[in-house]
């Protein structure tokens, strides 16, 4: 699974290219996210807007990325599609991450 990594001011935004974050790509996603996080800024936002399907392997991979964060670095999630949002809600992983409705909300947080 390809990841598009871009810098938006002080934030690194990572967007997966595939529509499915599942058992088939979970390990590859985790490895590529590790590289993106290591080269990323203190705030990394994972833009999940292209992902229409996430299974528990994909969810586990997203959670595992937290292990690669350095001190003071954060991983936030944005633009979860309804199917992806459901998985986070049912597993209560929506309480583990800061979630943004839009990537723009993460770039310009409300004060």
């Amino acid at each position: 699974m390809e990841l598009a990594v871009r810098r938006e001011g002080a934030v690194t935004v990572v967007q997966p290219a595939g529509a499915r974050l599942d058992a088939m790509v979970a390990v590859q996603f985790k490895d590529r996210m590790k590289a993106a996080v290591e080269g990323g800024s203190d705030r990394v936002v994972l833009d999940l807007s292209p992902v229409g399907f996430l299974d528990s392997s994909g969810l586990g991979a997203v959670v595992a990325v937290r292990r690669f964060l350095r001190d003071g670095q954060s991983l936030e999630l944005a633009e979860l599609t309804p199917a992806v949002q459901r998985v986070f809600r049912l597993t209560r992983m929506d309480t583990v991450f800061v979630l943004h409705e839009r990537v723009g909300d993460a770039l310009h947080p409300a004060v």
Partner: protein, 135 residues
């Protein structure tokens, strides 16, 4: 004579790629297109979790097969020739905290109103009934 198939019956290799290919095929099938988007999403997630369990734990990554059949009334039956599912696996609780695994069975339970797992003629038979209206 009906020209669209409203039932689904498939046998696939127990591999992540084959699981994904079947889910993509089912997503566009008349049987699933007849459901609401929420019901379709939940059905595909439950089938994914059930099949992933067989691939990763049943056959331990080795070769094998999985049969998937639609049943009346939001039902599905998944059959495999893998080793017996250990007692208690299907009733595990949702992990707490920032867990990286163990979500599969709790997700299946959360989205179904009936789950029955039994061993028949050396095969695991998982019978599921989806909740109406999605999750």
């Amino acid at each position: 004579m009906p020209c669209t198939r409203r039932s689904e019956r498939h046998v696939i290799a127990a591999e992540a790629g084959a699981v994904r290919a079947l889910l993509e095929r089912l997503e566009g099938s008349p049987a699933l297109l007849a459901l609401t988007q929420d019901e379709r999403d939940c059905t595909l997630l439950v089938l994914a979790e059930a099949m992933n369990n067989v691939v990763e734990h049943g056959y331990d990554g080795g070769s094998g097969w999985i049969g998937v059949a639609m049943r009346p009334g939001r039902g599905w039956r998944i059959i495999d020739g893998a080793r017996r599912v250990p007692e208690g696996v299907g009733v595990s609780a949702m992990p707490s905290g920032a867990a990286e695994g163990g979500f599969g069975w709790p997700l299946i339970r959360a989205l179904t109103e009936e789950v029955r797992l039994h061993r028949r003629l050396g095969k695991n038979v998982l019978t599921l009934r989806m909740r109406g209206g999605g999750g």
